[in-house]
């Protein structure tokens, strides 16, 4: 592990939501990077190897939606944990890679933090 803080990659196309999530998680002692769509996310993941968890919206424009991105990430970088969210679609366990979590919108900031702490092993 190269960093003390867990590294979270947020993938969200809505600008303000993305910025807000980054700030919430930074306040909660995560190291946060962000991408606006799947292509950007994959570029980031290809360039660095210390990302612990990808937090992605499901509905996104571009070549892949969040579900496809999740599956791609699991395929290429199996150790990376995945949390998916959506206000529209409700993903079932079978739609996401094993061990992933689905957080329905709207979620409270505290819920997001709790979920991510849970998955990255921080009490």
């Amino acid at each position: 592990m190269s960093s003390m803080k867990p590294v979270i990659l947020i993938v969200e196309d809505e600008f303000l939501l993305r910025m807000d999530s980054v700030e919430i998680l930074e306040d909660a002692e995560f190291e946060v990077i962000s991408a606006a769509n799947a292509d950007e996310a994959i570029a980031i993941l290809s360039a660095r190897s210390d990302v612990h968890l990808v937090f992605t919206d499901i509905q996104m424009p571009g070549s892949m939606d969040g579900l496809k991105l999740a599956s791609f990430v699991r395929d290429r970088w199996p150790p990376i944990k995945i949390v998916a969210t959506s206000g529209h679609v409700r993903a079932a366990a079978k739609d996401l890679p094993e061990g992933s979590v689905f957080l329905p919108k709207p979620y409270r900031g505290v819920e997001l933090i709790a979920t991510l702490r849970d998955m990255t092993g921080i009490a």
Binding site: E14, F15, L16, L17, M19, D20, S21, E23, D27, Q59, G87, H88, R90, P104, K105, P106, R108, G109, V110, E111, A114
Partner: protein
């Protein structure tokens, strides 16, 4: 009473309240009674020696050959079938008939007896039943299709309305956090942005829930066991922000895990507390509590102020009921209705007590539940 003589029997036969006819083994009519002759407008001797199908309309003839005759051969009798005669005047005479064969000892057919009852009304009634059932089936299929479209529309609408709202909230939060805005007025503006967004969001939630419920969908629950206190705390925080001059006191003692839909419980809490803020005394605190007691989860909201009038008590949870509301406080009157729907969906209830000392709304639900979708009763 003496035994009826053959004349009496003959009378009974001829003028029975039904048509009567017998057919010999060769398929030709051997006897017909006066009633049937009168109904059809043919003289009895016009029947004798003819075949039955000559007096039926074409549909009846086909049916006779393909269903009635075979069933008589195979089964010896056939009851309650419909048959249409064609009268001498060329009109249709609908009847319901029974037929039975009389066989001799070695199985040969002696004759076939048929009885006919005029059944214009009954046939018409049955026909109308069948027709309306077909119509209903088609309607139902259409309804289902429309309902699916409606569901999709509601889902998309909800998402499309909520997403931009969430973005606005997020923007306001970012500004608040930045610390660059020291000005009281500017901070206050941000507070108001947040509370307005919350109000709008609740409105959307309520409208969509109501629409879905009214349209037959019912409230869907997604239960999970996750900490409930943070959810309730955040609801209270939002409401405090929206009404900074009001005091909301909380006491949460949730000892056991609660298997519930957190979003919905948050919505219920928000609606009940909002209601207390709207109707309660403005200079007294609103008190909110939650606890588990082994079997149940309880959440209550109490306020001081004017008690709820008896006349309003019955209608509290009806949709669009607004009671005596100050004009400045908008609202569709759906909050309590939705709250009660959420309560019911969780297998719980909301009890109301109201006196000059205190008005209290108490939600309780059993802790042991299986995950299920509960529709509107």
């Amino acid at each position: 009473m003496s035994e009826p003589g053959s004349d009496e029997y003959r009378e009974l036969f001829e003028h029975a309240p039904c048509g009567y006819l017998t057919i010999g083994p060769d398929g030709r009519i051997t006897k017909v009674n006066a009633t049937l002759a009168k109904w059809t407008g043919f003289a009895p001797d016009q029947f004798i020696g003819q075949r039955l199908h000559q007096f039926l309309n074409m549909a009846g003839r086909i049916y006779y050959e393909t269903h009635i005759a075979p069933l008589l051969w195979m089964q010896g009798s056939f009851n309650e079938f419909a048959l249409d005669f064609e009268t001498a005047a060329g009109e249709r005479l609908p009847t319901i008939a029974n037929a039975a064969e009389r066989r001799d000892t070695d199985g040969g057919v002696q004759f076939t007896a048929l009885v006919f009852i005029k059944a214009a009304d009954r046939r018409l009634y049955e026909r109308q039943l069948v027709d309306s059932r077909s119509e209903l089936r088609v309607s139902l299929a259409n309804e289902r299709q429309t309902a699916e479209l409606r569901e999709q529309f509601i889902a998309v609408l909800g998402h499309d309305l909520r997403n931009p709202l969430a973005a606005i909230s997020a923007g306001a939060r970012i500004l608040q956090r930045s610390g660059n805005l020291q000005n009281e007025k500017e901070l206050r503006v941000l507070d108001m942005i947040n509370s307005t967004v919350t109000r709008m969001s609740d409105l959307i939630d309520n409208i969509l829930d109501f629409a879905r419920g009214r349209l037959g969908g019912g409230i869907t629950l997604h239960r999970a066991i996750r900490p409930l206190e943070p959810v309730l705390e955040q609801v209270v925080d939002e409401l405090r922000t929206a009404s900074p001059q009001r005091v909301i006191q909380t006491r949460f003692e949730i000892a056991d895990p609660v298997n519930c839909d957190h979003t919905r419980i948050g919505q219920l809490a928000s609606n009940l507390i909002g209601n207390a803020l709207t109707h309660g005394a403005r200079d007294m605190p609103v008190r909110v509590g939650a606890k588990t007691n082994g079997n149940e989860f309880e959440f209550w909201v109490a306020n001081a102020g004017e008690p709820i009038p008896d006349s309003a008590m019955e209608k509290l949870f009806e949709p669009f009921f607004r009671g005596d509301v100050r004009a400045s406080r908008q609202g569709l009157g759906l909050g309590l209705h939705i709250a009660s729907q959420i309560a019911q969906a969780h297998g719980g209830r909301i009890d109301v007590t109201s006196s000059p000392e205190e008005t209290r709304f108490a939600f309780s639900m059993p802790l042991a539940q299986a995950d299920e979708r509960i529709g509107k009763p």
